[in-house]
Each structure stands twice: as structure tokens, then as C-alpha cells.
């Protein structure tokens, strides 16, 4: 229901969707904007990280190439259209072709440490192993082991090989993951299997539409491409899942996942000797991740005919050489484009490297340089936070963690700071408490306290006795004695529309207040990104829908409550939220992740209590029995859904109508003008 409502509001406010800021000035002359992960997990423009260097195969035409790999100063390409594999020098000189006459549809290519060339051939249904001279050494045909399955298809598309000679093969039909085949061609099982998704939406459509093809739907998507690092660990990419970029250990357990998965179809992946990961997607954007899966840079873009150096038409593979240059294959323009890193890339690698070997002072300096180049760089802020934390510079560390929105780092640093404060002020705090108690007791003993109390009472009497204040007292009453209070509302006609409306507004204010005041450890809501109307619809709109739906349902099912009772009762039932949200938000500011349970527990209590009060409210207002109440609530929810759907349909119809009239009008005008 909420989803439908959200969808409706979304349609209304679609125009407000945030787009990245386009940068006009182009300082480095490259065609694409380079983005990095900025603060608050948004992509923000940064310095150019890679410069397009040129086209490797300027003098040798390729035909629909599908895969590329770089090893030992050679660039090896699966030249699918010509049914061969082409070898270039890294300076672009054509060396030779191999596999002519043997290969039918070479889609994947890999070169091992001994410079043997493996080619995955989909049409031939085999992986061929050649030596570097081009002599065919071995043909890995369809595995015959029963484990592989009688029905399984074997159409290899991509292949990598570890030092022990084990092949990791992806291919059409390899839905179970990556096929692991040892050097002798014996099938060892499936590797790097993705998790099956449990999709509520799919279940929901199944429920209503009765689509029976459950089995096929629940197969996990298979990895589409893979690479292997110097330690023999396999990295895979899978489109349309989150996270789509993963690194596996020998036991096929994912040990690293990329922190950002592009929306586009993922095409190619490679990893360098520092375990930085490079991915290219179908839109021609190249992503660089560090060894921890942090997105460092995203750059590039699609070229739809202009043929500009640096843009890609139909990327089909990516490879990185030992000095960090990227070779990206484009099967649309049949070219290999080269990209070279700029100093900021080298600095980041250096910073990570020094951190990994434990040279924190050195690493600090390097990251400081990166910070000076771009002070909003998320990875740099996070790294500076970590290093300064280790050095005990908690105040500075905290600032960097805030900029980086590194919640765990912030939590740990804040714990240290809080601890330091508590240690420094423990004495004062205890003394203060003792002091207050003593004063209180003394006052009581000397009987001066009643005087003070009396005075206070006299001063505040006009306020306290104001009818509105009397009414608001029910907020507290409802917490202590809900049934009685609802009785008062219903029978004694206590409570007015005005105050109730005021309380609805107060609730909305409290929700906003809690968004604004909650420590960023416990919320992902960014106040200035909130849409006031969406927020209003989510809080007040849903409550209103509930009231209307319940009123409609209850009039039919002998509920005694009037609309007024429901309206006032509902908002008073929200008392725990009205009273508790903001104090909880304030409390969250002195908590760390160590005390997370405190926050979640209180939050749960607030919501559960509200739900319980709503339940009691319906029961009391309508004078239902327990069973009737439950039935009533279920029907109310159904009615809410129907109402929302109805609203949506009406909205769509009106929209269509307007669209039709608009087109008609416009076309008439244009035809008349011509």
C-alpha cells in the first residue's frame, strides 16, 4: 500500500529527480567527466584520472573483437569476426595471428604465466590451449563427468586459468556459475555461484498472475565475465545484481564486493598487481575500484557516431598492464583504445600500499596530497580518518570520517572521544548528581521547597488551566491508561478537531525533527534532500487514508465510532511517537554502534506502542471485541489499498485525457500554421 502511495507521489514529483551537476569547463581536454565517490555516497566530478592515449591497432583492422588480455608486453585479442586471435606488441605493432582454421567463434582469451594462450570458443564448444607460437596443445571439450550433468550445455565464452592450470569458464547455459575444470579436463564443479534473490515483487505477481515458471525464475544470474589476480583469486561480474562485482577465495566464498555497482550491463573486468579492479560497462564507462572495493574513479562514456578518442561505442573487454595503462576493446569501432593514468591515480595506489605495509606516516602524507587535490574525495577522507585515528588524533579523524560519511570509523572515533570526555569529567558528573540530590533534600527538609513549588504553580496556572493544555494532558493520559482516555474521547466528547489537527502537524514536525536531529550513525535520511510533500504524504497522508478507510469499513461493520472519534483517537494513539521521537533522536547523538541496541530497542518500543494504541483505539472507539477488531483492521488495510489504487487510476485517466487534449490542440495549431 505504502509502495503504491509512494509510487503515486513519485509520478507527481518525477521532475525533481537529482541529476549530477554537469561541468562545463573541461580542463584536461578529455571528452568525459571523471567522477569519484564523493561525500554522502554520491558520484561527484573530480580531476581527470585517465587520459586517452590513442588507438593501439591503428594499422591493423579488427573485426568484431570480443575479448582482450595483456601479458608480458603483448596484447592478445579474440578477433571473433575473423575467427582468430591477434597478438600485438604493447606499442601497437602487429605480431601475428593464431588459431586460424581451428577457431570458430573465439569469444574469450587468456594468457597464462608460461605465455600459453587459452581461447574460449562458443561455436566449437571448447576451450583451446595454444602455446605462444600458435601450436594447439590441448582441447578442453565438453566434460564427460556425471557431475557436469547430462543436460548441461557447454558453450564457453570467457576463460581464465590459475597457476595450477585449473580453468574457470563462463558460458551460455552455465547458469550454475563458473565451470571449474582442471588441467586434465576433468570437471570439478561450479564456482562463484551467485545467491538466489528472494523477490517480494515477483512473489506478488506470481500470486496474482499464477505464473508457474518458478524454477527458471529462481535460478541465480550467472557471472558474465571474470578475471584472476596474481594470487589466483577469481573476480566475477554479473549484471543486474547488487553487488555485481565480487572477488572469491579458493573455496568460492566472496571475500570482497565492490561498494558501487553500475546500473548498466557489465561487460569486462580486469585486476592489476595491486588488486585494483577495473570494470567497463555497456555505456562505455570505466570504473576503477581499490583492493577494498571502494570506487575510486568512474570515467568514459558512449560515443554514438562522433568517433572521439576516449569514448566507446560498444565496449567488449578491458585489460590493464603492469604500468597501469588500460586497454579497452570496442567492437563497435573495432579499435583498442588506450588510457594512461594521471598522477592522482598513482598517489592513491601509493597511499593504499603504504597503509597496507604499515607505514602510516608515509601514507598520511600521501593521502594529505590527495586531499589537497580534492578535499571531498571520499576514499582520501576515509583513509585520513583511519590513519589519524591510529595516531590518536581523534578530533581531526572525526572530521574526516564525517566528510567521508564513514559511519563505522565515526562510531569508533566517537567512542574514543566520548570515553575521553567521560574519564575527564566523571568526577564532575558524579559530584553534580550528588549536589543536586543534596540540595533537593535540604530544600525538602527546610520546607522551603513547597514554597518554590507553590510559586511555580501560581505562575503557570493560567497556562495549565487553558482548555488546550487540559486537552493535551490526554497525551500523557493515554500512555498510562489508554482505554480510559479513548472512553473520554468517545463518551465525554473530550478533544477537539483543532487540537487534533495541531497534533497531526506536531507529529509531522516531530518526524522531521527526528530526521534532522538523529546522529548520522542511525539514519541515512538527508534532511535537505527530503521532499516535503512526499514526506507529508508518507506520514500524514497514510494516517488520513487509514482514518477514512476505517471509517468507511466500520460504518458497514457496526462500529460505534464517529468520524470525529476516529480522527482524534488516531492522533492521540500516536502519542508515543509525538513524545518520543525527538528525545530518541537527541539521545542517538551520544550513542555509538556499540550501543546500537539501545537505539533500535527504544525505536521499536515507540512503534510497537503506537501500533498497540491504535489497536486499542479501534477496539474502544467502535466497541469491538478482540476478534472483531482484528477483522476490522484487516479489512481496513484492504480498503486502504483499494482507495490508493482508485486514486492512482483516476490520476492516470486524467493525465491521459490531458495528454490527449494537449496533443490535439498542438497538432491543430501546427497544421493550421503550415
Amino acid at each position: 500500500m505504502k509502495r503504491i502511495l509512494l509510487l503515486t507521489t513519485f509520478v507527481f514529483f518525477l521532475v525533481l529527480v537529482v541529476r549530477p551537476s554537469p561541468v562545463q569547463a573541461n580542463p584536461s581536454g578529455v571528452p568525459y567527466i571523471t567522477y569519484t565517490m564523493g561525500t554522502r555516497r554520491r558520484l561527484v566530478p573530480t580531476q581527470t584520472a585517465y587520459v586517452p592515449v590513442g588507438i593501439l591497432n591503428a594499422n591493423y583492422p579488427l573485426n568484431n573483437p570480443s575479448d582482450i588480455t595483456v601479458k608480458g608486453g603483448y596484447v592478445v585479442v579474440a578477433n571473433t569476426g575473423m575467427k582468430n586471435v591477434v597478438v600485438f606488441n604493447t606499442n601497437g605493432t602487429f605480431v601475428k595471428t593464431i588459431g586460424q582454421g581451428i577457431l570458430a567463434e573465439p569469444l574469450g582469451v587468456f594468457v597464462d604465466e608460461q605465455m600459453n594462450i587459452y581461447v574460449a570458443d562458443k561455436e566449437a564448444g571448447a576451450v583451446f590451449k595454444f602455446d605462444f607460437e600458435g601450436t594447439l596443445l590441448y582441447t578442453y571439450s565438453r566434460p564427460t563427468q556425471p557431475l557436469f550433468g547430462e543436460q548441461s550445455v557447454y558453450r564457453p565464452e570467457k576463460v581464465v586459468v590459475d597457476r595450477g592450470g585449473t580453468l574457470y569458464v563462463t558460458g551460455e547455459g552455465a547458469v550454475n556459475g563458473v565451470m571449474q575444470i582442471n588441467a586434465e579436463g576433468i570437471f570439478r564443479g561450479y564456482f562463484a555461484v551467485n545467491q538466489t534473490r528472494f523477490d517480494w515483487r515477483m512473489r506478488f505477481t506470481d500470486l496474482f498472475l499464477g505464473i508457474t515458471d518458478q524454477l527458471a525464475r529462481n535460478l541465480p544470474p550467472a557471472p558474465t565475465n571474470l578475471t584472476i589476480d596474481n594470487e589466483g583469486l577469481v573476480y566475477t561480474i554479473t549484471s543486474n545484481i547488487e553487488p555485481g562485482i565480487k572477488k572469491f577465495n579458493m573455496l568460492s566464498v566472496p571475500i570482497m564486493t565492490a561498494g558501487y555497482t553500475p546500473d548498466e550491463r557489465l561487460i569486462g573486468i580486469d585486476v592489476d598487481q595491486y588488486e585494483n579492479v577495473y570494470v567497463v560497462d555497456a555505456a562505455g564507462v570505466i570504473y576503477q575500484y581499490d583492493a577494498y572495493g571502494n570506487l575510486l574513479f568512474a570515467f568514459g562514456g558512449s560515443d554514438t557516431g562522433a568517433q572521439r578518442l576516449g569514448l566507446l561505442n560498444r565496449p567488449s573487454g578491458i585489460a590493464v598492464d603492469t604500468i597501469g595503462a588500460l586497454y579497452v576493446l570496442d567492437r563497435g569501432y573495432n579499435v583498442i583504445q588506450i588510457y594512461a593514468p594521471t598522477p592522482i591515480v598513482t598517489l592513491i595506489q601509493e597511499g593504499n600500499y603504504l597503509y597496507d605495509i604499515g607505514d602510516f606516516d608515509g601514507s598520511l602524507e600521501v593521502w594529505q596530497d590527495v586531499f589537497n587535490m580534492n578535499s571531498n574525495f571520499r576514499v582520501a577522507n576515509s583513509a585520513l580518518g583511519r590513519i589519524l585515528f591510529r595516531q590518536g588524533e581523534f578530533d581531526q579523524s572525526l572530521e574526516h570520517f564525517i566528510t567521508a560519511q564513514d559511519r563505522h570509523g565515526y562510531s569508533e572515533t566517537f567512542w574514543e572521544l566520548r570515553n575521553r570526555w567521560l574519564q575527564a569529567h566523571a568526577g564532575t558528573v558524579i559530584l553534580g548528581v550528588i549536589g543536586v540530590v543534596t540540595v533537593n533534600t535540604t530544600l525538602n527538609v527546610t520546607k522551603s521547597k513547597p514554597k518554590v513549588k507553590d510559586k511555580l504553580r501560581t505562575w503557570t496556572r493560567p497556562v495549565r488551566q487553558h482548555p488546550v493544555m487540559q486537552e493535551l494532558k490526554m497525551l500523557f493520559g493515554i500512555l498510562k491508561n489508554p482505554a480510559d482516555t479513548f472512553y473520554q474521547i468517545k463518551r465525554e466528547r473530550r478533544g477537539t478537531y483543532y487540537v487534533a489537527i495541531g497534533l497531526f502537524i506536531a507529529l509531522f514536525g516531530m518526524v522531521l525533527g527526528s530526521h534532522g536531529l538523529t546522529s548520522f550513525l542511525f539514519t541515512r535520511v538527508e534532511l535537505h534532500r527530503l521532499n516535503l510533500l512526499v514526506e507529508f504524504a508518507q506520514v500524514i497522508g497514510i494516517l488520513m487514508l487509514f482514518i477514512v478507510a476505517n471509517h468507511l469499513v466500520s460504518t458497514l461493520t457496526d462500529g460505534e465510532g464517529w468520524f470525529r472519534d476516529l480522527f482524534i483517537g488516531t492522533i492521540y494513539a500516536c502519542a508515543p511517537l509525538i513524545l518520543g521521537l525527538v528525545p530518541l533522536a537527541i539521545l542517538s547523538n551520544i550513542l555509538t554502534y556499540n550501543e546500537q541496541f539501545v537505539y533500535t530497542f527504544i525505536e521499536m518500543i515507540l512503534y510497537a506502542w503506537t501500533a498497540l494504541l491504535l489497536f486499542i483505539m479501534i477496539k474502544e472507539i467502535h466497541n469491538f471485541k478482540l476478534g472483531e477488531t482484528i477483522k476490522n483492521i484487516i479489512i481496513t488495510f484492504f480498503a486502504m489499498m483499494v482507495l490508493a489504487l482508485l486514486g492512482f487510476v483516476v490520476y492516470m485517466l486524467v493525465n491521459q485525457m490531458m495528454e490527449f487534449l494537449f496533443s490535439l490542440f498542438k497538432e491543430v495549431i501546427i497544421r493550421v500554421q503550415n
Binding site: 561541468v23 581536454g29 586517452p52 583492422p61 578518442l309 569514448l311 594512461a340 598522477p343 602524507e365 589537497n372
Partner: protein, 754 residues
């Protein structure tokens, strides 16, 4: 390895701000630039990001043309003009070298079909829209296409004038071809064009094959086409590639957003534009060349260049004049549309001047110098007063707007007092020729304010600015307040969204977005009106300079219910508007029509679009403007490859610029200014000083001098020779070179004072 690099980087960031010349050969001055020693990846120097070495091929004659059947009709001492009466094709003979240029080919090329042969031989070739019951068909027609065209030619002393009636379309026009004192001039007045009821003119090409070069397996005439793309690009003639390259076609002064919908991919920068209405053709470097300049009609023209292998075996380049376009008129908000044509022809005259160059002028540097001289002659450019030191542009970001939940936040980035103290510090570090730009000086911050500028920012206030202006005036610092009168931000006020907006030919407002802020482009008339209303304030507060952020780089026509306002009218409006302002004016990446009013160009284009078919990027634009306009590069803070980009500044003769704030740059997160990654003066100060001295110490040797030769000795090693005898060797590479006994260390510049 890392250690060394780090030290180098630190050296860059806090380089020593003085460079003494001691104990060296008296007339050779190697400038220690103290860079990070990490040069660009070697292979990049052979790419079209840089200029390539020349080949020394000799061109004796033009194999495509001869003078058989041509009548000599005029001569001006340098050139002799010939023509053929039946197709009006021409031959131009350079009397000095004897080289003959032709608009058509005299060889019978077996690979050209009948249609193409007709086009090649015809002087004029049009595209028109033929109205049918269903839609307007696009038809091409050259003079010889039908064999029925009528030509009435009047010969004059210096050329000829022809009335042409096309055979099929019956469209009529008059072509004037005349020799001027220095070149050849083509003129087609728009009021000579007569359309018929059902045939409406679209495009016009005049002598498109002038200077064409044949290249199949080998190139008949070595040389290149110069294209004014961004900073300038060359397309050297190469044998045909196995795959057909794309045609280069680009509107002069950018695409007209009033006519075409431009969908900007957020991953990609807007493509570099054509700022100058010129192109050039070289037949044999330093032997024969010409460049063509559009003197009229530049606001509605494209530069089109066909590489060999694309429809023909020739490289050919021309101006395509656009009178009318066909477009899809949307009829519904989602997909429906009907194809229609622009109702009124854009009234542009076509005036093309060809200037023929030979020997040492026959290259892109010679073209640029000749073009600059003609702009000076036409009083479009005038020499700058000479200063001893190079200028530096320091932009200060004063305040910026940050979108909030309930209300916006205004970030106090720099106060006027801070600007003064920063300038004091920099002045004492030897920066004597500072230019200052102020961004976000008005009440609502930098973005989201246009076109509503007064009053001053809420932190420094009127008094702060008055004292700052006073300080700047006393220090004799040129100051530019950044304004943008061509855009109106939603909610900014100061314009009327009902009457002041520009409209596309579809009738919609032209919208855009910066970060989360929406804006609309304003009608040029409204731009001028709003600007005039602010004039009294500029005088009142002593504002002596303005930087117009979009006026010089965004040119559009506007349509809608009132009469269409074409791009030439927009230009005229802007020129009129600026002529009443007597302060100094700066504009980023400004187009040629703004040159008469410019004191400074910001964000000077330093690169080309790097299309696959380009072979080189060349500093054409900067050679044209050097000495007449202050040229400032992109913000040095944004540089990715510091050494390389600084060397390019020196190579192209462009001054450095920075954007600075007093508050840390992280404050700018989530504002449209978050693209400025590092602006904090506290961290950047030594860097600003070092960068200035680095560039100034080289370029102050050639202030007021003209670049006469630019030679690429090896890929990545450039020798710039100036007319005051100074030579700069600029080494982009990691290799050390010895040239004529002079040591040229990697990534450094050597100045030879001969």
C-alpha cells in the same frame, strides 16, 4: 619508487618561488620547472592530443587541375583568377609560386559517378525541401545536376557575377566571385535568393571541392586540413582506412539550442566548439596553402570536412550555409511528432574570403598570423598594452548557495577583507600583474542568482565591496565581477518568465540545470534590457570590469509566437549592449563575434575534440588572440596532470588562473560549486606563487612578440620561434634531448635568447 614520486610531488606543491639564472651559457636559459618527474605515457605524444612532426614532402603541382578551357578574367598582382562559363568552376593561380588551385577536377575519375561528377564541377550546390502532400522531401541539386540550369554571367574587371536558376528546383540566386587586394572573395546576398512555392532552400555550398586532395592507397598531395575545432585541429592526409571514417560537421559557434535539442550525457563534457569561422588547407607544408574565412553568414554555417573514403576518394572541406532546417515538431508530451520545416529562411548573406599563402607561411601558424593581421586591420582585434610580466587570473568564490530542506543556506566562502589580505600576500611574493575575478559577489551566491545581481553578498555587504573596489582600483588591478545575463534561474527573480524567456522552434522554453538548480535561457532582448537596468549600479559602485559567464560561448536563436530572432540578431543585440559599457570585459571560451569587446578570455580552449580522424591538436586560436587579448587557462587547481598541462600553457602562450576561497573547499560539498575540488588559499598559496613564476619566467621573454614558427622536432618536443629572436624548447616527454648542442631535460622548457 613511491618514495621518489612522493618527493617529486611535494616539490611541485611547495616549489621554491624563485628561479635564478646563474653560471650558464649566456643566451641559453633552461628553466627549472621543478615538476613531478612523471611525464605522460610515452605513446600519448603520437596521438591527436599533441602536434605531430612534419613530413618534408615536396609538392610541385596540383595533379587534379589544369587550366585547359579556363578563361583568365582577373589578376591582382598575387593571384590570377580563371573561370569556366558553363559550370562557373574556377582556377586560382598563385603568381609567385605558380601553384594552381581549383574548385573542380580535370582528371576523369573513374570512381566518381554521374551525380558526384556534376557536384564536383558545379560552383554552387544546394539542398532544398520539396513540398509533397505528405512531407517535405530533402533534395540536393548542383548547377550541373539536371543540365537545365540557366546561368547569366556578367564579367567585371576583378571577377564575375552570375545569376543562377537551378534546372529542377527553379530556385534562383546570384553568385559574386571577385579578387580582392589580398585574396578571393565569394558573395551570395540572401535577398538574391528566390524560392518557389513548393521548393524552399535548405543549405548552400559554394566551391566545396576547392583544395580537395585525392587519397586512396597513397596520398597524391601531402598536407593537411586545418579545422578550427576547440584550440585547433589538423587532419593530415592519410591513405584510406579500411573502415569508412565519419564526416566532420560542426556548427560554427556551437549548436543553436533554439533549433536543435541538445541532450547532454552527464558522463561526457560538451564537445569543444568552433570559435573562429575559418578553415585551412595545406598542400605541402611550407609550400602552398589557403585559408577560408567567413566574413558574413558565420552565425548560420557549419564547417564540414569529408575524409577520403567517405563517399569519395577525396579529402574536401567547405562551409555549409544553413538557411532552413527540417525538424520534428513534437505534438504530444511523450512521443508524437510531425516532421516539418522552418517557415522563414534565416536571412544570411554568404561572404567567404580565401587567402592564399606560400612558403614559410603555408602552415597553420602562417594562417593564424595572417588571420590575426586581417582581424587587426578590420579593427576587430587591437594590440594590448605591453606589461613586463605575464598576467595571472585569480577568481575568488565569495559566497555560494546550498539548497536546504526548508530554506537555502548561503556559504560564506571568502570575505572582502580576506581577498585584500590574500592579494597583499601574493603581491609581496612577486605577483605584480594580478587580474581578479569575483564569483558569487551578490546576495544569493554564485549559482542560482542570474540575472538578479544587486545587492552584495550578505556577509561582506555593500561597505565591504566598496572598500574592496577601492583597494583594487588603487592597486591598479583589473577586476571582473562574474555575471550571467543570458540565463534566468528559477526563483531568482529579476526577469519575467512569461515574456523574457527564449523559445525553441518547438515553442518551448530552453531549460537547463546546474546541480539541482533549474534555469532558462533568456531572450537576447531581455538580456540586454536587464543588463541596461543594472548599468547605473555598476557606475555607482565603481565596478570597472565584468566577466560574462555564458554570453560569449552560448549563441542561440529564439522563436515562439513573435517573429524569429536569428543568431545574427542575437549577436547584434549583445554587441549593442556591450558597447554602452565602458569597463573591461572577460568571457570564458568566447566566440569570434565577441572579440572587439574582449579584454580577457577565460578557460581558453587548449584541446580539440580529438576525433579519430584528427591527427593533431594545434594552438591556432591562441596564436590568433595572443597579444590582443589576455588569455587565461583553466583553473590550475583542477589540473590532473600538472606538468603536462603547465607545459601546454607555456607552449600555447596562455596565462595561469586559479580559483580561491578562504574557507576550505569541503564546505562546498553538495553545492553546484563542488566541482572545484581544492580552493583553500591556506593550502594553495605556495602553489599559486610557484606556478605563476614558473610560467612567467618563460613567457615574459616573449610578451608582445609574435610566434613565427612552431616546429615539432620529435613527438612531444616542440620548438617555438618568436619574432624577437627568442626560441622556446618545450619538452613534454620523459626523454632528455640534445638539439643543436642545447641540452633539453625531460618535462622542462629551455629558453634560447639569440
Amino acid at each position: 619508487m613511491f618514495k621518489i614520486k612522493r618527493f617529486m610531488l611535494i616539490a611541485v606543491l611547495i616549489a621554491v618561488p624563485f628561479l635564478a639564472v646563474t653560471g650558464l651559457n649566456a643566451n641559453i636559459e633552461p628553466i627549472p620547472l621543478e615538476f613531478d618527474l612523471e611525464p605522460m605515457y610515452e605513446a600519448v605524444f603520437a596521438s591527436n592530443r599533441y602536434t605531430q612532426p612534419e613530413t618534408e614532402a615536396i609538392v610541385t603541382d596540383n595533379p587534379l587541375v589544369n587550366l585547359d578551357g579556363y578563361e583568365s578574367i582577373a589578376e591582382n598582382g598575387q593571384l590570377r583568377l580563371y573561370y569556366k562559363p558553363d559550370d562557373l568552376s574556377i582556377r586560382v593561380e598563385d603568381l609567385q609560386s605558380g601553384y594552381v588551385w581549383g574548385s573542380s577536377f580535370d582528371t576523369t575519375d573513374e570512381r566518381l559517378n554521374q551525380t558526384w561528377r556534376a557536384r564536383v564541377h558545379s560552383a554552387v550546390w544546394i539542398t532544398y525541401f520539396r513540398r509533397t502532400t505528405i512531407r517535405d522531401e530533402v533534395v540536393e541539386e548542383a548547377i550541373l545536376s539536371s543540365g537545365m540550369s540557366q546561368i547569366t554571367t556578367t564579367l567585371q574587371q576583378d571577377g564575375f557575377t552570375s545569376r543562377i536558376i537551378f534546372g529542377t528546383s527553379k530556385i534562383e540566386l546570384t553568385l559574386h566571385v571577385h579578387l580582392t587586394e589580398t585574396g578571393l572573395r565569394i558573395f551570395v546576398p540572401h535577398d538574391s535568393i528566390v524560392e518557389t512555392e513548393n521548393n524552399r532552400i535548405g543549405n548552400l555550398k559554394v566551391y566545396p571541392f576547392l583544395g580537395a586532395v585525392k587519397a586512396i592507397d597513397e596520398v597524391e598531395i601531402p598536407g593537411y586540413t586545418f579545422l578550427p575545432d576547440g584550440a585547433g585541429a589538423l587532419m593530415r592526409y592519410r591513405p584510406q582506412a579500411p573502415e569508412a571514417p565519419t564526416i566532420y560537421t560542426k556548427s560554427i559557434y556551437g549548436r543553436d539550442i533554439g533549433l536543435y535539442q541538445v541532450d547532454q550525457n552527464p558522463a561526457v563534457f560538451p564537445e569543444p566548439m568552433i570559435h573562429l569561422p575559418v578553415y585551412g588547407i595545406v598542400h605541402g607544408t611550407n609550400q602552398n596553402a589557403f585559408y577560408a574565412r567567413l566574413t558574413e553568414g558565420d552565425t548560420s554555417a557549419r564547417v564540414v570536412s569529408y575524409p577520403s573514403g567517405r563517399t569519395t576518394d577525396f579529402y574536401w572541406t567547405f562551409f555549409e550555409m544553413v538557411y532552413r532546417i527540417q525538424y520534428e515538431q513534437p505534438t504530444s508530451r511523450n512521443l508524437g511528432s510531425i516532421v516539418t520545416i522552418q517557415q522563414n529562411m534565416t536571412p544570411i548573406d554568404v561572404g567567404i574570403e580565401y587567402h592564399f599563402l606560400s612558403n614559410q607561411d603555408a602552415n597553420y601558424v602562417g594562417m593564424a598570423n595572417h588571420y590575426r593581421a586581417s582581424l587587426v586591420e578590420d579593427s576587430i582585434l587591437s594590440p594590448l598594452p605591453v606589461h613586463d610580466d605575464l598576467p595571472i587570473m585569480l577568481d575568488f568564490l565569495m559566497t555560494e548557495q546550498k539548497t536546504g530542506f526548508l530554506w537555502n543556506q548561503y556559504l560564506d566562502m571568502t570575505s572582502t577583507d580576506a581577498v585584500m589580505s590574500m592579494l597583499d600576500r601574493l603581491h609581496s611574493s612577486g605577483l605584480t600583474n594580478i587580474h581578479v575575478g569575483l564569483k558569487g559577489w551578490s546576495r544569493n551566491g554564485y549559482h542560482g542568482t542570474a540575472p538578479n545581481y544587486f545587492g552584495f553578498d550578505r556577509y561582506s555587504g555593500k561597505s565591504g565591496y566598496v572598500s574592496l573596489f577601492d583597494y583594487l582600483k588603487k592597486a591598479n588591478i583589473d577586476t571582473y565581477l562574474h555575471v550571467d545575463y543570458a540565463r534566468g534561474y528559477s526563483g531568482a527573480g529579476g526577469y519575467n518568465p512569461m515574456t523574457d524567456l527564449a523559445r525553441t522552434i518547438y515553442g518551448t522554453a530552453i531549460q537547463g540545470q546546474v546541480g539541482e538548480l533549474d534555469y532558462q535561457w533568456l531572450h537576447p532582448r531581455s538580456t540586454a534590457k536587464i543588463f541596461r537596468n543594472d548599468l547605473s549600479n555598476f557606475t555607482k559602485y565603481g565596478i570597472t570590469g565584468l566577466a560574462f559567464d555564458t554570453l560569449g560561448s552560448h549563441l542561440y536563436s529564439t522563436h515562439g509566437s513573435s517573429a524569429p530572432y536569428d543568431r545574427q540578431m542575437s549577436v547584434n543585440t549583445y554587441i549593442d549592449m556591450l558597447s554602452v559599457y565602458d569597463g573591461v570585459i572577460a568571457m570564458p571560451a568566447a566566440h569570434a563575434y565577441m572579440f572587439p569587446h574582449l579584454n580577457s578570455v577565460l578557460d581558453t580552449p587548449m584541446y580539440s575534440s580529438q576525433h579519430f580522424k584528427f591527427t593533431d591538436t594545434v594552438p591556432f586560436l591562441t596564436i590568433v588572440l595572443r597579444g590582443s587579448v589576455h588569455l587565461f587557462g583553466h583553473y590550475t587547481n583542477q589540473y590532473a596532470h600538472f606538468a603536462d598541462e603547465t607545459l601546454r600553457l607555456i607552449d600555447f602562450g596562455v596565462s595561469p588562473s586559479f580559483i580561491l576561497t578562504d574557507a576550505p573547499a569541503s564546505t562546498l560539498a553538495e553545492t553546484p560549486s563542488e566541482i572545484y575540488n581544492a580552493t583553500h588559499f591556506g593550502s594553495l598559496e605556495p602553489h599559486v606563487v610557484a606556478q605563476y613564476h614558473r610560467v612567467n619566467d618563460v613567457l615574459n621573454t616573449v610578451i608582445g612578440a609574435t610566434l613565427v614558427q612552431r616546429q615539432v622536432i620529435h613527438s612531444g618536443l616542440v620548438r617555438n620561434t618568436y619574432d624577437n629572436g627568442i626560441i622556446h624548447y618545450i619538452n613534454y616527454t620523459a626523454n632528455a634531448y640534445v638539439i643543436n648542442g642545447i641540452d633539453i631535460p625531460p618535462t622542462e622548457v629551455v629558453v634560447v635568447l639569440s
